[in-house]
Each structure stands twice: as C-alpha cells, then as structure tokens.
Homo-oligomer: 469 residues x 2
C-alpha cells in the first residue's frame, strides 16, 4: 500500500526481480530460440507534482507505463514495449498484459517475428479475451503492448529500427500485417497494394532525407492548462526559438481562460506559427462549435478532440461548422473501425494516431493506409512516457512508404521523461532525428525501471516517507 494516494492497490509482480537487460541485437543463437517469459511491470512517474501534462480532462496525471518484456532463451534478446496510462489503473493494464502469456510463452521466436500479422491476429482473436472489448479499452491496449514488444524483438533480430524494418517490407508483406475484417467497405487489400506500390517512387530519396534531416515536429510543452500565463508565454517564445513552426495549447476547462491564453500565445509566437488547440473531449457538439468560434479570431490551426472519441456523426457536424479550422482526432480512438468511419463521414482533417491506444504496429499500419486512401494527414500523438520514442517510427514509415510526403505532417513532441530510455528521441531544430538503433526505442533504462516501479521503487518509497513525516 502507498499511503499518499490512499488506494489499496493489488500488485501484479513479476516472478523474478528486475534484472538489467543485456545488450540487444544479437541474432546469434536464434535457431530454435523460444519466448520463456512475458514479464510485466507497473512503472509510474509522479508528474502530477509539477502539473506537467495537465489538461481540461486530466488535471493531475502521473505518467505511467504498463511495461512488458518478452524474454527469450537467446542470450541478450528481449522485446520491450509499454502501454501508457496516467496513473491509477496502471495495475489493471499490467494484469491485462499478463493475461496474454498463454499466447507467447513457449512459442518459437522465429514463428512470431516471422509472421507478425498472424501473431497480432491470434491475440485479437482470443475469443474469451475478446469479450472484454471487443477491440477496445484495457484488453486491446494490452494486446498492443505485446504486439509492439514482438516488433521490438523482430527489429532487433533484423538489426534495424522499427521504422526501417517496416519501410523495407514489400507491399505484399505490409498488406499481410493488416486485419481487413470490418474494413473492406472502405479499403480493400487491392487498394492498399495500390497505395503502397505508388509510394515506391522516391522511396530511397525519402529515406536519405529522413536520415539527414529527420521528421518535422511540433511542441505541446508551452500549453498545459496548469501552467501560469507567464510560463505559457515564455515557453511559447522558446518553442519558436527552438525551431518549431507549430505549438499546441490545452483548452476546454473555461472559455474565457481559453480565449485569454490563445491571445497571449498568438502574441508570443506571431502570425506565422501554427497554434493547435486541444479540448481533450470536454465539449458536446454544440459547445464545440461555439467554443471554436470564440477562438477563431486568433487563427487556431486545428482543434483536437473537440468531443467524445466515439463521436463520428457529431464530428462531421462540427467539421462543417468550423471550417477552415481543421479537426484532429485519434489518441483515444479505440480501433481501426472507428477511424474508418470518421474518414467515411468526413469528420477529421488530421489523424493523431497513438502508438499504444490500438493493437500495436499492425493496427496502426491499417490506419495509415486508411488515411492515405482518404487523403488525410497523420500527425501522431506523443508525449506521456515513451510515446514519442515509439510513435516516431510510425510517422517515419508513413513518410517513406505510405503518405510519401511531409506536407502538413508534424509529429507531437513534449520534452518529458526521455532521460529514462536507453534510446531516447533526439529532437533538434524542430525535427525528430531518425532513430538508428535496432528496435522500437521503448526500452527503459534498468535503473529507471527499478526506481519508478510502483509502489516499491525508491522514488515512490521516498514520496511515501515524505508524506508520512
């Protein structure tokens, strides 16, 4: 028990203590290697102490990771991934990841890494676990964590970062990753093949560009709702000085506050920097339309999550009412079926996919293909802990092999918690540099895993001690 929070948490503890992962990448000794464990860890960072990450719906997040490691009997070979949460309930995610052990433990590494489409389908197809969604919420995100850990494993075996592993696949191999059930009325496998084949042109040049200049980013750092006006203004100016051409403000708690903060930010960055606003689902359809009209004089570029992430028809109504302000949605959109319909209804101009919300790389590939079919830009959601590290791979794959352009495509960046990763993102001049290390960049440093494990890690023990004094 951790008295500061006052919650009686039932911990799902790994069978063995936290061990320092060996250096990754060794494909040697792989023949016949098997998965021997799926270890799960409850890792939490006390970010609510600083109001980092505060928005209208989430006033006090403690950025957290339900962290999964696929351990193998090949020396030094492990697959790491995480599911992001904002604190309480992280133990529920951990239990859900543990429920997937039967699908991985004892399986041959080559069988999983060699057919990630079948692996993903087997997890999603578990009929008893499917009842808990289907394909949404805790169980779906847990599947995403395990699928992503398998991608980390596959990329380490291949000796490539995930973006490059994906980009080097043939169109046939990419289409085989996707579950087309419930999609075919919007996107057929043949249409997906056409999109991927068309994007072969210029592929090598785009890889070279990416390796040299990276991928454009925007920053949410200035705009958290718990920050003072002074902090908002100074961080907005800093963002421009750092080379960003787009920033984002959190809105939706109080309209007069939103208008004041929007005006301050516009004054701070000048007319040429794009300002996105993010309502984090606070409004109904009518409220959203009214609120955006009030912000319009300061030229918002997009409004993100104006209403429920399950809203399709209402999104189309808002879309028509607020044009030319764009609508961006995605970080809480549960699965490819809802994304499909948002595109069919014309409810969004920008899809803000998240690495950890849907069932991993495979489902996000489906969503990238849907976006390309409908001509909508993908600007991934990031921030939290590990989201930047993971989703950069998807944005770069999109640039090389699907959308084949950077036009209007920016990748969110928040400068929190990167120091805890073995292969942190590198953002400079407003751009993400392309990762070069093999894997999915989601591996926590072993000392961070130990220190922030909840509630037994040193950081949490210290906070508990402080609270008890």
């Amino acid at each position: 028990m951790f008295p500061v929070r006052g919650v009686q948490v039932t911990q799902v503890r790994p069978a063995d203590p936290v061990t320092i992962p060996a250096a990754p990448g060794a494909a040697a000794g792989l023949a016949g290697a098997r998965i021997v464990a799926l270890d799960c860890y409850d890792v939490r960072f006390p970010t609510s102490l600083e109001h980092d990450g505060s928005d209208a719906m989430n006033p006090d997040p403690d950025y957290s990771a339900a962290y999964a490691i696929l351990r193998t009997d090949a020396e030094g070979l492990e697959g790491h991934a995480l599911c992001f949460t904002i604190g309480r309930g992280n133990e529920v995610m951990v239990t859900a990841i543990a429920a997937l052990r039967r699908h991985v433990v004892g399986r041959r590494v080559e069988d999983i890494a060699g057919d990630l489409g079948a692996f993903s389908a087997a997890l999603i197809g578990d009929s008893q676990l499917r009842w808990l969604g289907p394909e949404k919420g805790v169980m779906h995100m847990a599947i995403g964590a395990v699928v992503n850990a398998a991608w980390d494993l596959a990329a380490k075996i291949a000796g490539k970062p995930v973006w490059r592993l994906l980009a080097d696949m043939t169109p046939e191999q990419i289409v085989a990753l996707v579950d087309f059930r419930y999609l075919s009325d919007a996107l057929t496998p043949a249409e997906a093949m056409d999109i991927l084949r068309a994007a072969r042109a210029g592929r090598e040049e785009r890889i070279a560009e990416l390796e040299r200049f990276g991928h454009p980013a925007y920053t949410t750092t200035p705009g958290w709702i718990g920050y003072s006006d002074e902090k908002l203004v100074s961080l907005s100016r800093q963002a421009v000085a750092d080379g960003f051409t787009q920033i984002k403000l959190k809105v939706g708690a109080d309209l007069p506050d939103d208008v004041r903060r929007m005006a301050l930010a516009r004054e701070a960055v000048g007319p040429d920097i794009r300002i996105a606003v993010d309502a984090n689902q606070r409004w109904g359809v009518g409220q959203a339309t009214d609120a955006i009209a009030a912000l319009a004089p300061w030229d918002p570029y997009w409004v993100e999550e104006p209403t429920s992430p399950d809203e399709i028809l209402g999104l189309a109504v808002i879309h028509d009412a607020i044009a030319p302000v764009k609508i961006a949605v995605g970080e809480h959109v549960a699965n490819r079926v809802i994304f499909k319909q948002i595109l069919q209804a014309g409810g969004a101009d920008v899809l803000t996919i998240d690495a950890c919300r849907v069932a991993g790389v495979n489902e996000n590939v489906a969503i990238l293909l849907l976006a390309a079919k409908y001509g909508v830009a993908v600007c991934p959601h990031a921030g939290g802990v590990g989201l930047c590290e993971m989703v950069q791979h998807l944005a770069m794959f999109d640039f090389v092999a699907v959308a084949a352009t950077h036009k209007d495509r920016v990748l969110e960046y928040v400068d929190h918690l990167h120091e805890h990763f073995t292969d942190p993102v590198r953002v400079t001049g407003g751009r993400y540099l392309a990762p070069t290390a093999p894997g999915f960049s989601a591996e926590l440093r072993p000392e961070s895993l130990r220190a922030y494990e909840f509630p037994h890690g040193a950081v949490w023990q210290e906070l508990a001690g402080t609270a008890n004094q």
Copy 2:
C-alpha cells in the same frame, strides 16, 4: 495456477475468506452506516464442457462473473452485482473493480444510495481511470458492476426490487440519473422529461399487468452453434411448447450450415413463431448483406450483431439493404455515445441492451430514453450468468415508465445457471414473472460462490484433478 487451462493467472483475492451473506433488506441501523469494503471474486462456470453458449465468435465460453460485494457496517446490508465475461480475462475485470475501491470504501451509504447520479458520475469522472477507456471496455464494465452493486444496496434499503425502485421515481429523479454529456445533440434533459411525463399515463395499470402476467420473453436455448441438428430441432419444438413466440439461432460461422439450420428451425416451429438470427459480429458490411439474403426465404425476424459493434455507418447501409428484416444490436455496444449515433444513423430497429456492458443502471436509463426518443424497441440481451436476473429489472422499468408498451418488446431468456442465485428469474409460459424481492437479483448463493471460485473452488479443483489423472 490451474493446469487444465495452462494459463498463469494472477489472482486478486479478497482480503477475507468467502463469508455467507446475511439476509438482505435491513434498513435498520442505517443512520451513519458506511461502506467498509468492496470485495471482488473471480467466479467461473465450466460451460465450455457442454458447448452451452457457443456461437460463431465464441466457440468455447466458460460463463464467468467478476463478482462485487459492497460491504457495509450495517448488519445484513450488502450490495451485490457482477460483470459477465466468458472465461479468460475474468481476473482483469476483477482487478478493474478493485481499482474503484477508493471511490466507495469509507463513504456513507446514504450519500451513495441517496444520489446514484452523482455516484455514477464520480466513478466515470475519475480522470486517471478514464484514460483506460474512455467509457469503454474493461474499466467501463467495472464501473458498471460497482454502480449496479450500489443499486442493489439502494433497492434493499428501499425494500423494493430495482425495477420498482426505478419505476417509483419521479421524472425529475430519473433525469438526474443520466449523464447528458455527448448526448444533447440527440436528447436534451427537457426531451427526456417529456418522454417520462407522457409515460405517467397508465402507469398503475402497467404495474398491475406486470405483477400479474410478467414480461414477454424469447429463448436462445435451441440455437447454439455447437448443438447438433437433432438438438436444435427438439429444443425448438420444446420452446414453442413452453409458450415462447420467438426463438433465436446463432449463425455466421458457415453460410451453408446457417441455411440448413434456419430451414430446420423454421420447419420445427412453423410459420407463426419469430426466428431471430445472431451473427455475433462475424461479417463485414457486404458479407452481412449477402448472408441475410441467403437466409431470407425462411423469414428471419431480426439479424443481431451482423458486424462490428463499433459500426454505425455500415449498420445503416446493411439496414437499408435487408429491410424488412430488422437489425438488432447492443450487447457489445460500448456506451451511450455509440448507441446515440446508431439511432441517429437509422442503423437499428431493436436495441439489445446488456446489464453489464455499459456503466450500470444509470447509463442504461440513458439508452432507454434515447430508444424512446427514436421510437426503437429495446429487447435486452441476457443469458450468460446473472444477465437474465439483472436485465429483467431494466426491461420492466422500460415497460412501466419509459416505452410504456410491450409491443415488439421481448426479453432474452436462456435456461442456464439460474440455480446459483438466491433470487433466480422465474420464467413460465414464455414470460418473465416480475421479481418481488428487494434488490437487483444478482446475488449468488454462498455455496455457489465458494464452489466456482476460480481456481480454488471445489469444482475447479476437481476438474484440475481429473485433468491430471
């Protein structure tokens, strides 16, 4: 660990051993009473051994309950409810229910039972837990279990069954139960008031009718996909003999099989009995249309879950293509926002609400009001374990106080596992008799709770022993 299944399950164990609940209903000594514990149990029934409950998506369900008890310091006063699952993953639900302890333990019983709208809103509004949905999947269903347990508590205090507690509320009190966020573009509080006020006419007569004759039912018992043709035919004939006017067949695994079974069932029951078919989400939009056309010669009454439960636009397409065959959806529809849009799009003729999928009684009241606004019949989903016991209360409240009619409204019935409840459903002559005992009818018999607790109960220990021999 339970060796038959080969899954390493992490159990969330209640702090104290299973105790025999005292007789409910005592409001005496309530002044100042507090919730002292939220106990959670993993209860599973090995139904897959008999193929009971088998369908195209769920070939081998073990009907299970994540079972919640709100314990109080008032003697004999407890609130019981459950969330239904089909086996694996039930431990995830149990962990999710446990995550809600901070919202109940230590609170005054009167504060919760006296304002169930505020109680429901507080659980749904937990910003950190909300990230795990929002309002869908494991965390949302867990909230449903706790909200329903609070309704059981409130009804026991009132000395009424839940249906009657609801039916005796004023329109104002009922509207105060509902969260109108994301609903107001389809249903305003004022419109809800109008619906409820209009249904005051004839209320006493409908209560009398319900108490005398009960609520019409239909049966799914004949139609499980794992049953032989002979069993299908004999159970179909038996259903008619038992007084049912509608049966349901599971379809969607193999179309020639579906056609043969539909023809056999139609021959068995004759032309005047309604036959519903249930595809349990197996089809895409085009497949659904084709399959229903193949079954049309045998006059299916409704097709249930033709495709993904997240499908709104596609459902409207199927709806127009298959008329006059009706579409029924709901048991897997995640929340009121998706229900709202299905109604707005004209995608369903029948809503098959479930007592345990959404966030409990309060959200189901919202869905009943939406259905009334759009003139669509509610025919609740039941079966499993405990679903009939709970959802009958919602159907009866709908009849008395919202829809105010039985026309085309039937309540699913399956004759499994009722013997495990202290207040089991009573179905006779094709009708559910109205419950009279105070509460929500979801209380398991203490000996069943002990015997079926997974994996330590006697039944599971015996199965494990058999498997090891």
